[in-house]
Symmetry: C2
Subunit: 128 residues, 2 copies
Amino acid sequence: MPPRDLSNQPCPIRDVLDRIGDAWSLLVLLELSNGPCRFNALRRVVDGISQRMLSVTLRQLERDGLITRTVLPLSPPQVEYAVTDLGTGLISRLEPLRDWATTHQPAVWEARARYDARQAAPIAEGAA
Amino acid sequence: MPPRDLSNQPCPIRDVLDRIGDAWSLLVLLELSNGPCRFNALRRVVDGISQRMLSVTLRQLERDGLITRTVLPLSPPQVEYAVTDLGTGLISRLEPLRDWATTHQPAVWEARARYDARQAAPIAEGAA
DNA sequence: CTGAATCCGGATGGATACTG
DNA sequence: CAGTATCCATCCGGATTCAG
């Protein structure tokens, strides 16, 4: 994603992609679609995400109005994140994508293997 | 997207995202959904993409079996790219996403503006 | 517990020049 | 026309450290 001039007339697709394209956002969003969740709980379930990226990701999602951040005034401070209606709308478009990915991952892998095999031996395909 | 060990058990979502998450792939794919296209033609229509990234992107899409690459044996060499059935399936899941992006971009922008305003003046919301 | 700030290595991606 | 190779600035993102 080149810097470009996003403040002017960015194509909307680029705009969404810049949001979910970082991979973490999508994962967090899909996780939150199961219901509200707290910071460290997310941290555990997303698995692999660093504290920093979770923090950054959540802030971006909140900024874009896709999730809400609620601070529970408790002795050990708790913060709960939940998807908004806007976020729900996006998620509903994301789920088919996830399902496609799950279903067709084998096909993609096979295509890759075939491609790589072709590249490995581009000459003399009938050779001994 | 952290390196991780993708060769083992990557979640499929991560796998797709790594493909379309680079933003260019999605743009190119959606463009090709309108019909086959040649290199420089794509270069012009995608707008903003560098020669290098178009080349890299096309190769990845071909590797994953989402598009085909056909070399026409002509005096000025021509190469035509076209989506495969697999690619078509993915595109059909992508289009709702694009449409959502187009429709709700204003809402996202408003959310951002509100968030930024809140951050700029977190204190004294009823002041002056 | 939740989160921000800093440091820093590695990957990303643009510009350019060259090839078939 | 359709790329590939190199160079290099930038950004992403992990680890660590500190704060509320």
